[in-house]
Every structure is written in structure tokens, then in C-alpha cells.
């Protein structure tokens, strides 16, 4: 493979595609709950431990998963360590070929997998399909990049010496994944580790074990050697065991800030007998602002802001949660946003007309409600969707908050729900200062039609991904390398050219080629 092309998303505007997806979901429902085993060394162990449920109908069990024990974690890590040498010695081309075959498996099952993400995570169709595509992209992109990386970079060469630099897999990688991109993120972190020659212990989110099993199956069907990947469904303690294990070399984590910081802290400790420093690749969410200058085209701003703030109910680390609007257009934009908010349909993820699906679980909803209530108590004015669906789903009314005090949680905390704080500012300068005052720096947006304003904001923004005149979500592999700075993460860029470097150790070899004055 010489050139990477993003997997095409489905053309959902064609009825035939929608019908195929609906049929795949019906088939999934007909099959009933999926049993998700712990898989170590190719061996499956299953006893019903915990369930994942449909967030839109929590009575419906989507998967029953085995709860991996600490002893099983130890077995998995030991097995991975034993497999590390052979896997590292496998040429990058061969590793990439396995990943490409796994991508083919996902492609073959794409309707079913999108349906699974709809059911297990209440991810709306367009976003569920994009999740499948991104999973395919990560497998192909990292495979290709690893082949390129294996060649090593050019070094300066002088007569009488030969210098080479090679990158090699570090050893066991622990991948601790979230539920919000239940396919793309676990496979992305795993594919990066696998492509560069590291065995992987994958601990998926407890909310989405069935999606993780599908990923395991794809790699298994692709011919990945059994010891190289283990699937370890479970709750937080499985991750904690992995992080603390002395044979784990690299920890790739995407999730909350609290857990991420804890991982970094614990990974820094060197256990007795441990002969390496653990490396962390940590992606921890954001508090993302979109700036709207006075010369912005509000016709573009309104739909882009709604999609960025409320798409997938705001449950993306890239989601916008603050809107900093030039005061000259603030009233007009507020009026249009409030009107547009009323058009947002809250409903089940499986309905193609749904704009805002339910949140992942009851605790998320309660926290979001608390933050909104506190904003209102602090003087913020609320605009909320009134019409809410019936049933037990974890639905949450999309909310605009105007005039919240600067210290309000709605302005300072990541919410991971469909809540947007709208704040007038005197100009772009003030907006940049507010963004600068934040601890998070993941994504940001600017709407302006002045190229000089774009350049000025790009030059000073702390965020990892700045989006100009468009929404702030939907980064594409190879096109928008994704990842944040400051407390949003340690600056790694998923889907970018340098991501793989976090999973390898560099080794430089310098040979004296002079023998009795003769240099070849």
C-alpha cells in the first residue's frame, strides 16, 4: 500500500442505505444479547459478569460480558510478554497485511457494526457509520505508516562510518478505551501498537464490550497470532491492574481527566524488578470553545454549532461546549440559536431523524442536570428543548445557557452532554483570552471571513485542533491528526504521521567501516 484513502461513509441520503442499516439492526436485535468472553492466548473464558444495555431502553441487554479477574490480567500480560519477541521480529509489511485484512473484515461487517454501535452506545447512524469507517482507517493508516517507519529516517553520513536509526516495538501495550467511539478508538490505539510490533492487552469500556469483541474477532479472522492480542472486558480495576503491572511498557488511554492523571502518576512509579520507564499516551477530553467574529456567516454558524455541541448528545471529547460571540452579532445569533434549538429532535439513536440521542448512562444525565441547575441558580438563563421522548432512556434536553457566571461549572468543566454556554465577548481578542484561561486545550473553532483573523487565532491558540469556519468534531484519519494539549492530553496526535513514535524505542547504530585505512 503506497497511498492511504479514508474509508467512504455511507450515503445515508439514499433510502437503500438506510434500509440496509435498519435491517442489520433488526437482525442484531433478533439474535439477542451477545456473550463477550475474556480472550487470552486465543482461549475464551465466559461467565456472565456484567451487562451492557441500550441507553435508549435500559431494560434491553445488548451484551453479557465476562468480568476479567486480576489473575487473568496477570496471565494476559505474561502471555503478551512471551509473544513480544516474535511479533517484534515480524516484518512491518506482514503486520500491516494482517491489519489490512482486519480492516476488510470490518468493511464486510460494516452495517452490522454500525447497528451494534447504535444499540450499545446509542450512537446515531451517521456517527456510528463514521465510527466504523474510522476504525478501518486506523488499521490501514497505521499499518502503512509502520512500514514507512521501519525504513528509518535519513541520517548524516561521513566517510568511514555508517549510521542508521531504527524504531522497534517497546513491548506489552495496555490499551484502555472509552465507549464513545466504541470501535474507532480501541482499534486505533491497538492498531498503532500492533503495527509497530507491540502485543496488546485491550481493556474496553464496560459500556461497550460487544463492540470490542467485534474488533477482536476481526483481528483474529485476519490471522493475528493468538498471543499478540488479549481482550479483557471489565470495570476500572482491570485497567488499574494493567497500569500497575511491571511488564507493561506502554499505556494508551482515552477517557476522563481524573483517570488519565491517575494513570500518568501510577505509570511513573518503577516497581521492584522493573527495568523500563512506562510510557503513557493519554487523551483526556476538553472544554472546547467556538469563537464567532462579527463578520461570520451566521447561516453557516448555526448548523455547525448545533452539530458540534449536540451531535451524539455532546458525548465527544471534541464537542463544543462554549460559544464566544462578538457582541455585535450576539443578539441576532442568540435569537437564531434559540429558534434552531427548538428544531432539535431528541429521540432514539436508531431513528434516522433523531438529532440528539440519549446519554450513555443515568450518572451522566444526573451530572449534566446538576451542572445546568447550578448555572441557572447562578444567574444563567436557559433555553431547552421541551419535547422529550417517553420511556426509560437516558434522555437529556439539549440546553443553551446564556450569561452564566465565569466560575460556573458549565463554563469550567467538561460536561460530556448536550449543553452549550453562550457568552458575548467584545471581540476575538477577548475570546482568545478566555480560551487561554482554560486548562483544557483540545479543539477550538473560529468563524470569521477575514484571513488575518484566522492567522492570528491560529498563531496563539493553545488547542490541539483548530477548526475554521466549520464544526469542531469529526476529525479524519490522515487529514486532521487529532489530540489535545495542556490537561487535554500529552500532545499525541491520533491519525497523524508521528503517532506511532509513542509506541517504539529508537535505536541508533553507528559502525566504523574503516579497516587499515580502507573505507568501502
Amino acid at each position: 500500500m503506497t497511498r492511504f484513502v479514508n474509508e467512504s461513509v455511507l450515503e445515508l441520503r439514499r433510502a437503500v442505505e438506510r434500509e440496509r442499516l435498519a435491517a442489520a439492526l433488526a437482525e442484531l436485535d433478533r439474535r439477542g444479547p451477545i456473550e463477550v468472553p475474556t480472550v487470552i492466548g486465543g482461549e475464551r473464558r465466559f461467565a456472565p459478569g456484567f451487562d451492557s444495555v441500550d441507553p435508549g431502553d435500559p431494560g434491553r441487554v445488548v451484551a453479557r460480558a465476562n468480568a476479567t479477574t486480576p489473575a487473568e490480567v496477570a496471565t494476559a500480560v505474561a502471555g503478551a510478554a512471551a509473544a513480544a519477541g516474535d511479533w517484534r521480529a515480524t516484518p512491518a509489511e506482514e503486520r500491516a497485511a494482517i491489519l489490512a485484512r482486519a480492516a476488510g473484515e470490518l468493511r464486510r461487517r460494516r452495517y452490522e457494526l454500525a447497528a451494534l454501535a447504535v444499540r450499545e452506545c446509542a450512537k446515531p447512524w451517521a456517527e456510528a457509520d463514521a465510527d466504523v469507517c474510522e476504525a478501518i482507517d486506523f488499521l490501514e493508516y497505521y499499518g502503512w505508516r509502520a512500514v514507512e517507519l521501519e525504513a528509518g529516517p535519513e541520517l548524516i553520513q561521513l566517510p568511514g562510518e555508517r549510521n542508521t536509526l531504527h524504531y522497534r516495538g517497546r513491548g506489552v501495550a495496555a490499551v484502555i478505551a472509552p465507549w464513545n467511539f466504541p470501535l474507532a478508538i480501541p482499534i486505533g490505539m491497538s492498531a498503532a501498537a500492533l503495527a509497530t510490533g507491540n502485543p496488546v492487552c485491550l481493556k474496553p469500556a464496560e459500556q461497550s464490550p460487544a463492540c470490542a469483541l467485534a474488533l477482536y474477532e476481526a483481528l483474529e479472522a485476519a490471522g493475528l497470532p493468538a498471543g499478540v492480542l488479549s481482550l479483557l472486558p471489565g470495570e476500572g480495576e482491570v485497567g488499574a491492574e494493567l497500569v500497575g503491572h511491571p511488564d507493561v511498557q506502554t499505556i494508551a488511554f482515552t477517557g476522563s481527566g481524573a483517570v488519565g492523571l491517575e494513570i500518568i502518576r501510577r505509570a511513573a512509579a518503577v516497581a521492584p524488578g522493573q527495568r523500563h520507564l512506562k510510557r503513557t499516551v493519554v487523551e483526556m477530553g476538553g472544554k472546547n470553545a467556538i469563537i464567532v467574529d462579527a463578520d461570520a456567516d451566521l447561516d453557516d454558524v448555526v448548523p455547525a454549532v448545533l452539530a458540534s455541541a449536540f451531535g451524539f448528545a455532546g458525548q465527544k471529547c471534541s464537542a463544543a461546549s462554549r460559544l464566544l460571540v462578538h457582541e455585535r452579532v450576539a443578539d441576532h445569533l442568540r435569537e437564531r440559536l434559540e429558534g434552531a434549538l427548538e428544531t432539535m429532535l431528541v429521540g432514539q439513536a436508531e431513528d434516522f431523524g433523531t438529532d440528539v440521542p440519549p446519554l450513555i448512562e443515568a450518572a451522566s444525565r444526573q451530572r449534566a442536570e446538576e451542572i445546568v441547575a447550578a448555572a441557572a441558580a447562578g444567574g444563567g438563563e436557559l433555553a431547552r428543548v421541551e419535547a422529550m421522548p417517553d420511556g426509560e432512556g437516558f434522555f437529556f434536553a439539549p440546553t443553551l445557557v446564556f450569561g452564566a457566571p465565569p466560575e460556573a461549572r458549565v463554563i469550567t468543566e467538561e460536561i460530556f452532554g448536550p449543553v452549550l454556554s453562550v457568552e458575548p465577548v467584545a471581540g476575538v481578542e477577548e475570546a482568545c483570552e478566555r480560551v487561554d484561561a482554560q486548562a483544557h486545550a483540545l479543539t477550538g473553532g473560529i468563524f470569521t471571513r477575514n484571513p488575518r483573523t484566522v492567522a492570528a487565532v491560529a498563531a496563539r491558540t493553545p488547542v490541539g485542533n483548530l477548526y475554521v469556519n466549520r464544526g469542531t468534531t469529526g476529525a479524519m484519519v490522515g487529514r486532521q491528526p487529532f489530540g489535545g494539549n495542556r490537561l487535554s492530553g500529552n500532545g499525541t496526535k491520533a491519525g497523524g504521521p508521528d503517532y506511532l513514535l509513542h509506541f517504539v524505542d529508537p535505536v541508533a547504530v553507528t559502525e566504523n567501516t574503516v579497516r587499515h585505512g580502507l573505507a568501502p
Binding site: 467512504s8 441520503r13 438506510r18 463578520d295 455585535r328 428544531t343 477575514n450 484571513p451 488575518r452
Partner: protein
């Protein structure tokens, strides 16, 4: 056909035509440089959002940064960058230029403003369809407001049209009378709920408003023409209109129209669907179909490329032109089941339609040619002189809402492949009239 085409093409002697030609040359000069063209479009686009000339100047300066030879834009552009005083003046010149451009394409800010220019078109022997420009509809209130404006426009236009002199040549064909009042409506402006993956939402929201407009049009004896936009709304609009057409209350009116975009690869399939439904509807007033090449080519192409889709449009312009001619034949052959409006500024396409109509025995009033205000003015004069019915698409609206329309038109006018650009650059007429 060639003879007819040459006749239409050579006839450009009027004083207005000479002035327009000068404008076209300036435009062609700007359009020749892609960077300059982009700068000009961005300036036109941002103009209504700028407060005062100083802001406009600042934008222009930013757009021209790094362009080596700003050519015709230099007078109010790069030279002014260093001088604040001159800068303000240059902002003023730019604002005037944008206003003039808007005036060329937009017939008035309101129906009242537009009444006189529209009547002038009528006096000149052509007729019009009015399009109400507006901001994108993102709220229900905006959808309601657009429907209200359409309703008022129908009433207001009817009032004005009653006073127009009789022009039998453009008021009837072999089937019967053709309404004087003709309003083009956009379904995406009637509802904020257009969702590509959920056509039922937009449809459910728009159907009531469109039905009311149809009732109003029927009451006034006016024609309502539903515009087509991008692929994201096409199926919804098509189904909506075809279903309304079949409602018994509309069996006797109003005169209703749809748009067929020849640049779509599946446009012939679509036409068959429309014809089948039109035949089944058993209405006493025939459906009108406006045949266009399509105005969203760049949008469709970019969207398809970004998503990895096969483009829904022909990527070779000659394919669009050939498809246009196949559709022309099929449409004219379907008279009187449907009335056909050929909306193109391509002389070959227009001459082809006229020649084919004559060949199959249709009278000169049994189809019409449509042109865009500001772009097809020369053609309008020629078509009228040739004794054919010419309808001028006249946008009405303010600067803010008109900019998206204006930029699309400018894009079209300056596209390298466009007939107008070729004509302005002096390409041989017979070559342009050749088979696509």
C-alpha cells in the same frame, strides 16, 4: 438549428448590450486569475456583514495579500493597503462595486422595488419568475416568515400584473392560458428540518406551508415553481411536490412547476418518474418542468470527494450538455402532458430546443426559454426577437440575503467551462454551437 443559433448569437447591438459586454470583459479579466477570482468572491460574500467601508477595506486588503498583480481590483485594493485615508476611500469604492454587482443580478430589495423593473421586462416582450432571496432557514419562525413573504409576493405581484398591457404571445400556449404571475419557491427555505438522512422530517414540516401557497396560487391564478437545490434535499422535494400534485383539491390548479437538473447522472430516470406521476395525477393544468444544467456542481463534487462518494453529477461538462439535449427531446415529446422551460444561457442548448420543437411540430408558444436576470440579458433580447417566450428569473431581496445567490451566479459566470465566459473571450460562435 445552426442557423437559429447564429441568429440568436449575433444579435447583440443594443446600447445596453454594449455596456454589459464591457462589464463582462472586466469580469473575464478578474476570472482569468483564480486567486483574484477567489478574492473578489470573498469580498462580495463578506460585504453585507461589514460595518462601514473601513471594515470592508480591511477584508479586501487581507484577501489581496500575497496576490502579485491585483489587476482591476488594484484601484481599490493593494495600493490602498498602506494608506489609511486612501483605505477608507477604497473601501467605499469596493462597497459601490459590490452594490452595483448586486443590482445587476437582483431586481429589487422588495416586491414593491421590483415592480417597475419587472414591468419593464414585460414591456420588452419577456416575462418573469420571481425568487425571494433570504437567509438560510434554521428556525421555524424563519420558515414561517419565508412562507409569509411568498404569500405576500403572490398577492402583490398579482396586483401589479393586473395592470400590465396584454401580450397574447406570452400569455397562452396550445393548451391554454399561462399565468402572468410566476413565483419560484425553495422548500429548504420553508422548513428548517431538512435532513438528508430523514426526508420525512422536512417533508412533514413543509407540506402544510407549500399546500397553503398552492391554494393561494390557485386562487390568484398564479404559477408556483418549486426550485431544486442540492442532492441532500432532492428526494424530499420531489416526493413532496409529486404527492401534493396528486391531491384532489389541486386537480384544477394551480399551475405548478418542478426543476430537472441535467448535470445529475440519474436525471433521465428522474424525469421518467416525474412523467409517470404527472400522467397519473390527472390534472387539468399540466405540470411545468424547468430544465437546467444545475447550480450546485461544485458543492456536489466537493461533498462527494470529501466523503468518498461517486459524484452524483457528470464530471465532464460535455456529458451534462448531451444529457441536457436528451432531456430536452424527451420533455418536448411529452407535450402537452408537461410544459417545458429550457433554462440555459448556452446558445447551443437553446437553439437545439427551439429547432427540435419546430421539427416535432410544436408552436413557438408551446415551450419557453428561461434566463437569469443579469446573466442572460443579451439572450433575452435575442429570444424575444426570435418570437419565442422568454422568462427571466428575477431574484428579489436585500444585500445580506442575496450574497449566497450572487456568489453562485458569479461562479457560474466566470467558470472556465461556461458558455458565457467562452463567449466573452471571443470564442468562435460556430465552435460553441457545435455538438457537445
Amino acid at each position: 438549428m445552426l442557423e437559429l443559433g447564429r441568429r440568436l448569437g449575433r444579435r447583440r447591438a443594443s446600447a445596453a448590450a454594449v455596456k454589459r459586454a464591457a462589464n463582462d470583459r472586466t469580469m473575464a479579466l478578474v476570472a482569468a486569475d483564480p486567486e483574484l477570482r477567489a478574492a473578489l468572491f470573498r469580498l462580495v460574500d463578506v460585504a453585507p456583514a461589514c460595518r462601514g467601508n473601513e471594515e470592508l477595506r480591511a477584508h479586501l486588503a487581507a484577501y489581496l495579500e500575497g496576490i502579485e498583480d491585483p489587476g482591476p481590483l488594484a484601484s481599490f485594493g493593494s495600493r490602498a493597503i498602506d494608506s489609511r485615508a486612501l483605505g477608507r476611500a477604497s473601501g467605499g469604492v469596493a462597497a459601490t462595486m459590490v452594490r452595483q454587482m448586486a443590482k445587476r443580478f437582483i431586481v429589487g430589495e422588495t416586491i414593491v422595488d421590483a415592480a417597475r423593473p419587472i414591468e419593464r421586462i414585460w414591456r420588452d416582450g419577456a416575462t418573469v419568475t420571481v425568487d425571494l432571496l433570504g437567509e438560510a432557514t434554521v428556525t421555524e419562525e424563519e420558515g414561517r416568515a419565508y412562507a409569509r413573504r411568498c404569500d405576500e409576493a403572490l398577492v402583490e405581484l398579482s396586483r401589479h400584473a393586473a395592470g400590465w398591457a396584454d401580450r397574447p404571445a406570452v400569455e397562452a400556449d396550445s393548451i391554454g392560458p399561462i399565468p402572468r404571475v410566476n413565483l419560484s419557491v425553495k422548500v429548504t427555505a420553508l422548513t428548517p428540518l431538512v435532513r438528508a438522512a430523514a426526508p420525512e422530517r422536512g417533508r412533514a414540516d413543509a407540506v402544510g406551508r407549500l399546500r397553503e401557497l398552492m391554494r393561494r396560487a390557485a386562487g390568484l391564478g398564479a404559477h408556483l415553481h418549486v426550485d431544486m437545490e442540492s442532492m441532500d434535499s432532492r428526494e424530499m422535494i420531489l416526493d413532496l411536490v409529486l404527492d401534493l400534485l396528486a391531491e384532489p383539491e389541486f386537480a384544477a390548479g394551480p399551475s405548478l412547476g418542478l426543476v430537472l437538473q441535467a448535470y445529475l447522472r440519474d436525471s433521465e430516470e428522474m424525469l421518467e418518474r416525474i412523467l409517470a406521476r404527472a400522467a397519473a395525477a390527472e390534472r387539468s393544468v399540466p405540470l411545468t418542468i424547468r430544465l437546467v444544467k444545475g447550480a450546485y456542481w461544485d458543492h456536489e463534487t466537493i461533498e462527494a470527494a470529501q466523503h468518498g462518494w461517486a459524484p452524483p453529477v457528470w464530471t465532464d461538462k460535455a456529458d451534462s450538455d448531451r444529457c441536457f439535449e436528451r432531456l430536452t427531446r424527451r420533455l418536448l415529446d411529452s407535450y402537452p402532458l408537461v410544459r417545458t422551460a429550457i433554462a440555459s444561457h448556452n446558445l447551443r442548448s437553446v437553439a437545439y430546443a427551439a429547432a427540435y420543437a419546430e421539427q416535432i411540430g410544436l408552436g413557438p408558444a408551446d415551450f419557453e426559454i428561461q434566463v437569469l436576470r443579469g446573466l442572460g440579458d443579451d439572450l433575452q433580447e435575442a429570444v424575444v426577437e426570435a418570437g419565442l417566450r422568454c422568462r427571466v428569473y428575477c431574484p428579489v431581496g436585500d444585500m445580506v440575503s442575496g450574497m449566497a445567490y450572487l456568489v453562485r451566479r458569479l461562479l457560474e459566470n466566470t467558470s472556465n467551462a461556461s458558455f458565457l465566459a467562452s463567449r466573452a473571450s471571443g470564442s468562435d460562435l460556430d465552435a460553441l454551437l457545435g455538438r457537445p
